[in-house]
Symmetry: C2
């Protein structure tokens, strides 16, 4: 297989660069054709690189970046003043075709803004989306978008999200004719706001999308759909509320565990279990999130990511490169636009 | 204390009228000044009433209603063709001042439509809201609205929701200067859609609301606010997604319990615990939901309610009557409107 190059922002995570170094090393060991460009302060990176075996060193390029985007930095500020940052550099590398994809676990808002500016959207796509996999019953998964890239989405943008989610489910999750649903307040046709109703019409009219209709909030985890589309306002609030709910449940278990020795034992067994659900309910932490619709592949790993979840993000990026996801999105959008003019 | 009369729709629940009869009996026994008007088919009601003690019989009036609104009936259909239904009758009784408040566990959409038509909104209130208490950490509770009464809410409607939620928290939960927050995708001022930003401005400008700013999805259960306001689209999807998430967690526990005898025991102890969280996460089931902003008190008990949760709905209705919630909402809205003209 031909060489595949990823650019990694080593300054993004809350847990320091070693999380990313560990993931990088594992990925290089497991994927012989993988090459990496690490972006960050040279001293930190070379100190680590010098300790590695020659065949690993040969597949890593270091790219010194004196600046760093802070986790709480305003996206507009990062876009304007952080042109020498590791986050900006990984996107420049994708834009210049020096890297096939990039990964950051930094400030999501800044990553969205800079990626949008540097890479631009694909032809036919108005706005990128932030998408992640949400676990469902029976070990299923659903592509859920948008997680907050765009707060105001008209029906055309929501339609494009459906196309992009459908391509991801087909190419990455290997689902033939993935079932695409719109998130709504009821499953009957008359339900919902104008934006949702208009999107439903666009989806019903397209032969290229296997549109199954509306799903409600309680259907998200039920495996009814392979792709669930909503605007970034609803998607962001829903996803964050799941995180809050599981946190709340963990607190309740802790409280219940104070009653007697039996409840203490039960709680000690139950809490790790809750934690695992908690992690699964923070999909961007567990699975990484992808920024799709751009002329390049951008994967977002959680700021608080472990080495394991950063590795997951690397694998996601590799798969998107190998399945040529941006090209497939472009093709599908073209087909849909052609269909409208027929 | 002077007589207090509630009208109960006995045909609403999925579990049959006996759930409601049981709750009615308990309420009458515990609240000496309570009188009830039961609405439904006369034969069912009189069969039950004949078995009761004379002092209970004396405080119950039966109101024969030949029609019933089905759980899946379109609200417009119910409004037009079910004028002899038990749901319509309880609202007529409130409208005619024969009852101080009414309770139904029937079709929410139909109840909203008929209540809005029969009772009309209070002066200064454009649209009613569906509100419920959501549990938070440390045994706290937050008034969360709108749960789906209105899908499209402009900033003026959201502002009115903040006023109504604030009145409920003050009068029913007895919180001085309740902290009111807007649900948003970030806590910084620049975040959110126009509708949220405009509402924030209205709330900041008002001396009558203790507005604390934006909260995010993960803050809902964290006790940051006493009242959280969002539009019915987001509120409905968020609340239903919590139901879905807890259901999903229960399934996961069941699955995990298949591993060995120890996990089976743990699961058997954990599942009832999960169920209790599940019920708390379906706030309208656990706490009932109130339809506020109307010229009358309407409490919605869940369709699948137990006798206990219907009793909770009765207590909620009694409290709203005793605290004169609609009058207080009217007064507060008047004060706010006066303030704007100063």
């Amino acid at each position: 297989m031909s060489r595949l190059t990823l650019a990694l922002d080593i300054m993004g995570g809350d847990n320091g660069p070693h999380i990313i170094f560990d993931a990088a090393l594992t990925a290089l060991q497991k994927t012989p054709h993988l090459h990496l460009i690490l972006c960050g302060p040279l001293t930190i990176m070379s100190q680590w690189l010098n300790k590695q075996l020659p065949n690993i060193q040969a597949r890593i390029r270091l790219c010194d970046c004196p600046q760093q985007v802070a986790m709480d930095e305003a996206p507009a500020h990062a876009l304007r003043y952080k042109k020498q940052s590791s986050m900006r550099r990984i996107l420049d590398l994708v834009h210049n075709n020096e890297a096939d994809a990039c990964i950051s676990s930094g400030n999501t808002g800044a990553l969205l803004a800079i990626a949008n500016y540097v890479l631009k959207t694909l032809p036919g796509i108005d706005r990128p989306a932030l998408v992640s996999l949400v676990p469902t019953i029976n070990n299923g998964k659903v592509y859920f978008l948008d997680l907050g890239a765009n707060i105001n989405c008209d029906s055309e943008v929501l339609f494009q999200y459906a196309v992009m989610g459908s391509v991801l489910a087909e190419q990455i999750a290997d689902i033939k004719q993935p079932k695409v649903a719109l998130l709504n307040v009821g499953s009957e046709e008359i339900k919902g706001n104008d934006q949702v109703k208009q999107t439903a019409k666009l989806l019903t009219d397209s032969q290229h999308i296997n549109y199954i209709g509306y799903v409600e909030g309680n259907d998200i985890f039920s495996q009814k759909a392979d792709v669930i589309v909503t605007d970034g306002f609803v998607g962001n609030i829903a996803m964050k509320s799941w995180e809050g709910l599981v946190n709340f449940a963990i607190q309740e278990v802790r409280k219940a565990s104070q009653h007697n020795w039996l409840s203490k034992i039960v709680a000690n067994i139950a809490i790790p279990f809750f934690r695992s659900i908690y992690l699964r309910m923070k999909p961007d932490q567990y699975n990484g999130a992808s920024l799709i619709g751009l002329r390049g592949i951008v994967v977002k790993s959680h700021g608080n990511a472990s080495s394991e979840s950063f590795l997951y993000a690397i694998r996601e990026a590799i798969e998107q490169v190998e399945m040529r996801v941006p090209d497939k999105i472009k093709d599908k959008i073209e087909a849909v636009l052609m269909e409208r003019h027929e």
